[in-house]
């Protein structure tokens, strides 16, 4: 076994990867989450709790069954899948809300970002709970676990 060759293969692959990322036009911004796009406003869990206490409207972008099982207190379901169908159900509440926060399952979950962008297209500014429900739970914040129909 020639360990120099072994290292060369690894180093060559890594170098090609960085070069492709820099010059191909398909690259990603390495220093931030790939889910974040221009215009996305992220809010950390403790700050989101402060917004909740001030009456912010929370929207659950996960599939509706997840919302039925548990949710951030007072959150309404607005799942990414079926957004167009669910939107009229919450539209009136959105118009009355001063602050809107969208969340999903965290860890690579893109649903909250997508729902927030769709809301923005409809004229509603919505912040995104950074890392979603897991971050909320990690911050020892409460979930409403009463089953909903």
């Amino acid at each position: 076994m020639d360990w120099k060759r072994f290292i060369l293969i690894l180093a060559g692959g890594v170098s090609l990867g960085f070069a492709w990322n820099a010059f191909s036009g398909r690259g990603i911004v390495l220093g931030q989450s790939v889910l974040v796009q221009a215009g996305d406003e992220l809010v950390k869990a403790p700050d989101a709790k402060a917004l909740l206490d001030k009456g912010a409207l929370f929207l659950d972008a996960r599939p509706r069954d997840f919302w039925r099982m548990s949710r951030i207190p007072g959150a309404l379901p607005l799942p990414e899948e079926g957004f167009d169908k669910a939107f009229p159900e919450v539209e009136e509440r959105l118009r009355r809300a001063s602050t809107i926060v969208v969340y999903c399952s965290g860890y690579g979950c893109e649903a909250s970002h997508i729902v927030a962008r769709k809301l923005r297209e409809k004229g509603f500014a919505a912040a995104i709970l950074d890392e979603g429900v897991p971050a909320w739970q990690d911050a020892q914040l409460p979930l409403d676990t009463e089953p909903r129909p």
């Binding site: 076994m1 692959g13 990603i28």
Partner: protein
Amino acid sequence: MTRLANPRVQLALRLLLGAFFVYASLDKIASPAGFAKIVYQWQVAGPVPSNLVAATLPWVELLAGLLLIVGVWRREAALVIALLLVVFLGAAASVLARGIDVQNCGCVSVAKEAVESAWPPAWARGVGWFLVVRNLLMLAGALAIAFVRRAPAEAAGRQRAMEQAGFTPAGGTGA
């Protein structure tokens, strides 16, 4: 062991592994953002390390796969593949142990449509026991290429062919 040392078996292993890893790298190279999202969903690394993996890993796969196919630095390329597979297996074990539902492992395709399509079936594209068994088999193949020496019969055959062609080994006693 002797079967694994057979040159034809070694060639087949090289071509199969090489082709798989070249094929597996292409969609990831074409869509680094899609692959980065999937790496992040494994919950093994944060967003920034996931980006670094997404940007570089497919190129290591491509390079090692191509070297295996053409037969250049084949043992070292096989060891690189083996290293990748050990990392993948460790990550899959972590995902399974924590009960995380990763619907598309990102092994071959990173397209969101891959999750919604009927083929391949969910058990073949997610992180589950199929992935673990497949990776274990490929790891065995990669280690066989890296560490099993070619059969002595092949060397003897080469020597006979050289002698028939009129060559004699250096220091030999050929008349």
